[in-house]
Structure formats: C-alpha cells, structure tokens
C-alpha cells in the first residue's frame, strides 16, 4: 500500500511540520520506498504473542515503576527558562491563542 501526496500532507499536519512542495515530494518517495521493506513484517504470524515494551521483560518481570508523588528538587525557574525563546515575568510567551 503506497502513500499519496494527501497522506503526506495529513501526516505533516499531525506532526506539526511545514513541508515545502519539493520536500513533500521527496518525502513521499522515500517513505514509500521504506514501507516496501516494512511489508515483510506484516506477513509474520504473531497470534498470541505479547508485545515487548521493555526488552529485559523478555526474561524477567520488569515493573515500570512510578516514584512517590512528593516534592523533591526545588524548581529553579530562572535556570529552566534560560533557554526559552520568549519569557516575561517568569511566564513563557506564546502567540495569542484566545481572541
């Protein structure tokens, strides 16, 4: 199954990526070439096989733990905002979203 230019435009929107026309065309060709090798994977019978999210879970139980919900390190706002594109009075600035 090959993707078409509309698919590329839809995926680019979902991914929040602006693609130029020539970029979109090149991407379409490359992604379709890639999906040609993915076809082999679809033929594999995986009935009854559990997906493997943490590789070590192949041999023993691994719990994806959560840490306790307690305050730990203090939040260093200034350091955290040092590399932000636009900050004012400790707040991140974004383009207007509500009229």
């Amino acid at each position: 199954m090959a993707l078409n230019p509309q698919d590329i435009a839809r995926i680019a929107h979902l991914a929040r990526l602006e693609l130029s026309a020539s970029e979109g065309e090149r991407m379409l060709a490359q992604i379709n070439e890639f999906f040609a090798i993915v076809e082999k994977m679809k033929a594999v019978d995986t009935t009854g096989i559990e997906p493997l999210p943490h590789p070590v879970a192949a041999v023993r139980e691994v719990d994806l733990r959560l840490r306790d919900d307690v305050a730990s390190e203090p939040i260093e706002r200034e350091a955290n905002q040092r590399s932000a594109p636009a900050v004012e009075r400790g707040l991140f600035l974004v383009p207007k979203v509500i009229e």
Binding site: L3, D7, I8, I11, A12, L14, A15, R16, L17, E18, L19, E23, M27, Q30, I31, E33, F34, I37, V38, K40, M41, K42, V44, T46, I49, E50, P51, L52, P53, H54, P55, V56, A58, V59, V62, L64, R65, L66, R67, S72, E76, A79, N80, Q81, R82, S83, A84, P85, A86, F92, V94, P95, K96, V97
Partner: protein, 487 residues
C-alpha cells in the same frame, strides 16, 4: 614516559595517581590536541576554563590520596547528554546554544568518579544516523581516511578516541550508534544491557532502545568507565534496572578456555562484504586459538529487525520530539501567523531532513487505524527476536559476528538514500531490539585499509563476561593499539 595522548584510561589514571602528571597537565595536553585537529569536526564545543576548573578539583582529590580508578582522566561527552557547563545541542539547530539546568546522570556519575570533561562531541542530529552526516553543524571526518564517514551516530566520540584527542568518550546506542562508529574508527565500544545506565538527561530519541556506554581504546578502559557510568536510578528513569552497581573489570583476566562463541549464520550471508568477512573469520580463528569453542547458531529474524526497528524507533522519536515546539526551549521561527503556524515553521526550520523523515514515519505508524498493523506488530516481533536470542544462548555464552556489512564508506556516497543506510544497520539492530549488551572490538582491516570491528553480544547483564572475552582477544592481538597515520 610516552606522550600523554598515547596513554589509555587505565595507564593515564595510574600516572595521575603516581603524581607523574597532573590532571591539569593531562587536560591541557588533550585540549591542545583537540585544537590542533579541529578540522576533523569531532568537537562541537570546548571551554578551557570549565575543563581546567574540573581538572584542578581532580588534582585536589589526587593530592589528598584519593585513588578512584578514573580520577583525573579527561574524557569528552557525546552532545546528546545534557550538561550544565556546556551547551547541549544534540547536533541539532533546534537546540543551538541550549543550556541545560542540570547534568545528565551519566555525566554526573563520571564527574563523581573524577573524570574531567574536555568538551562536547559531534553526533548525528538527535542521534539519528549512521554516518554523522546528519549533524546540523558540521560533518565528522574519519581519521583513517578523511574522505570517509566515521560512522554514527556517535561519530564525534569515535573520532576523538581514534585520533587521540581524548582517551575515552561517552556514546549512546539506540540501533548501533556506539558499536558501528567504534568499528569504523578502529576503537572499542560497549553498549550495556538496556536499563543499566540511567537515561536521565540523555536527550531522548527512542526511549525503549536508548542506552549510554563508553568508547575507548581497549576493553579494559571501557570496563573502568562502564563501572562509573552504570547504576540504578529508580527515581529519575522509570526503565532503569534495579541491580547494584558493578565492577565490570572484575573478570577481565579470567581464562576463556571452553567459552562457547555462537556464530549466527544469518550474519554471514551475501550482504557481508568479503573484506569484512575475512577479518571476522580471522578473529573467530584467533578465539579458537585462545581455547574458545565456535558453535553455529541461528537468529532467524535478523532481516526482520530492520523494519521492526525502523517502525519502533521513529514511533518513539515522533513522540519524544513533540516537545520541540518553540515554547519552552530551543529554536522558535521568527515569522509566523498564529500558534499552529509557529509550531510548524519552528519545527520545519529546527529539524534536519532525517529527523523530519523519522517524525513523519513515526507519526504515521502511530496514527489512528495504523497503530495495530505497524507499532503493535513491531513490538510483537520484537519479542520473537528477543526469544530467538534466548534460544541461541542455550548453545553458547557469547555471540560473535560483524558489526557492519562493510567498512566506512565515502562521505556523500549514501546521503541521498536513507533506506540504504537503514539496511546497513542489519547486524546491530537485533541486539538493540532485544536490549542485550553488545560491543565492537577492533579485529583487523578491510578494503582501503579501513578498520573492521568484531561484534560481541552477551546475554542480559553479562557485560563483565563480554569485556573479559574482548580483553583476552586484545591481550593476543594489537588491532586496538593501531592508530591512524599522523595522529
């Protein structure tokens, strides 16, 4: 005493402890080497003041009698680890000049062990690539032949070690990014079991695969660094393994008589270049001489690991890289109409082609209606691939084969053909998907006198055994001691 840059980690650490050289002198020597060979493109950033301050602190510890194994040894970090004192770019325009408020766990662990940071090393953008041509800043040249790629994504790390610009470096390996550049540059590198090293502060690419590890000249040096790098980090990395810290150098000298080395027949098919095969066959023969027993094994889904990896890794990448939206850190487009337009233009400007391609693939395979057919199916085959390894380990202790099908190729030769690059990852992807520890050990030279690496794969948490097998090989051979001409 030979020139400082001729010394490996273990030797240099011994000289430092014996007060034959100071940490400041060692740091200065390597900083000068880095500046002299800046044209290789290995370093993205150095800061003499920061480095020398760390070196002075190490000298204080040394003079107080502290004898920690790597105290005072200068190393450099792949620029995928965030650092407080250096910019952290992930090789991307998106993070140009980004300053992290904290150090990655791996960086902090090595600093605690007394290592001195020489600077940040070039890599493929967000660690996506096998040639280092995807760095947004500059390519890295292979010191064995400057017209060739060094491998990737830890290309700067491999070159820094190969050209003696640093005794050792950190790297990360998602689908082979430590092992393949180590192989292409004639150095030693190890990716430990998934979960051994904390991912805290490693700029995320594919979270279920990303793993940090050392790159150095010898297995012994790698063992020293790996012991400092690894350890549980349960509060900050949800997938960190909870086993205690280990001394990975403990069994380096154990005999390997009777060690069963599994040779997967799928790694020796027609895709393997004859020159690489010759070097690998000779290395296996050398293991035979050392008393190891070669056993033919099968990893029947080796070829499938390519589509499985290139579904899972981009899927996770598309999710991880959604944080780069031009709001909290990194690049923001200067012209835009509204918020949506700001996101799209920021990401279009900040990411390079390969990163965009993987974000697109990942977004597609996770999108409504395709998740089961692609991502879930890949995760299921991933289990089958991991099971294949467990079957194989019933017949052998360690698995050996090539790291890559060819030696390092020419810069630009494959840069317009992403799928060709993906296919070349075939021998490193299976161990990545299974989360197993893997190494590259220099084992000879192939076409154009370019280095060839032997891949060793161990079972879960069997790093000490892998390093033992590699060390014994290096006691009997001198490939790891060879260096490119002019360095």
């Amino acid at each position: 005493m030979s020139a400082l840059h001729e010394l490996g980690v273990a030797e240099l650490a011994a000289q430092l402890r014996a007060k034959k050289v100071s940490a400041v002198e060692a740091a200065q020597h390597f900083l000068a080497r880095g500046a002299k060979h800046a044209a290789l493109g290995a370093y993205l950033q150095v800061d003499e003041e920061v480095t020398l301050a760390q070196a002075r602190a190490a000298d204080d510890r040394l003079s107080s009698g502290d004898a920690a194994p790597i105290l005072g040894v200068p190393i450099a970090h792949k620029d995928i680890f965030v650092t407080k004192d250096f910019a952290s770019t992930a090789g991307s325009k998106m993070l140009e000049n980004y300053r992290s408020p904290f150090d990655a766990a791996v960086v902090a662990n090595l600093a605690k062990a007394g290592a001195v940071t020489l600077g940040k090393l070039n890599c493929d953008e967000f660690a996506m690539g096998s040639s280092n041509e995807n760095s947004a800043f500059k390519p890295v040249l292979n010191p064995w032949d400057r017209s060739r790629i060094p491998g990737g994504s830890s290309g700067g790390s491999a070159v820094a070690v190969a050209a003696r610009l640093a005794p050792a470096a950190t790297g990360t390996d998602t689908g082979g990014s430590i092992r393949q550049p180590a192989s292409f540059c004639g150095i030693t590198g190890i990716k430990p079991t998934y979960g051994r090293a904390s991912r805290y502060g490693m700029i995320a690419f594919a979270s279920s695969l990303d793993q940090a590890g050392p790159m150095a000249r010898s297995a012994e040096d790698c063992a020293l660094l790996l012991s400092a790098i690894c350890g549980p980090d349960p509060d900050r990395d949800s997938t960190s393994l909870d086993g205690p810290a280990e001394d990975f150098a403990r069994s380096l000298n154990d005999p390997i008589e009777g060690l069963r080395i599994g040779v997967p027949k799928e790694f020796f098919g027609e895709g393997l270049a004859p020159d690489v095969r010759t070097a690998i066959d000779a290395a296996l023969k050398q293991y035979g001489k050392l008393g190891a027993k070669l056993v033919e094994i099968s990893l029947p889904r080796t070829e499938l690991s390519i589509p499985v990896y290139y579904i899972i890794a981009p899927a996770e990448a598309s999710s991880n890289l959604s944080r780069f939206d031009g709001v909290k850190f990194g690049h923001r487009a200067s012209q835009y109409a509204d918020l949506m337009d700001m996101y799209k233009k920021t990401r279009a400007e900040g990411f390079g082609d390969e990163v965009k391609r993987r974000i697109m693939i990942g977004t597609y395979v996770l999108s409504h209606g395709y998740y089961d057919a692609y991502y879930l199916q890949a995760q299921k085959i991933r289990r089958l691939i991991a099971d294949d390894f467990q079957q194989a380990f019933k017949q052998c202790d360690v698995i050996a084969g090539p790291v890559a099908p060819t030696v390092a190729w020419k810069i630009g030769e494959r840069s317009d053909d992403p799928v060709a690059n993906y296919l070349a990852d075939i021998f490193t992807l299976p161990a990545s998907l299974a989360g197993l520890p893997g190494m590259s050990v220099p084992c000879g030279f192939g076409a154009a006198q370019m280095p060839v690496g032997l891949q060793l794969i161990g079972n879960y948490c069997a790093e000490a055994r892998l390093l033992n097998a590699a060390h014994r090989f290096q006691q009997a051979t001198d490939y790891h001691l060879r260096k490119p001409e002019g360095f």
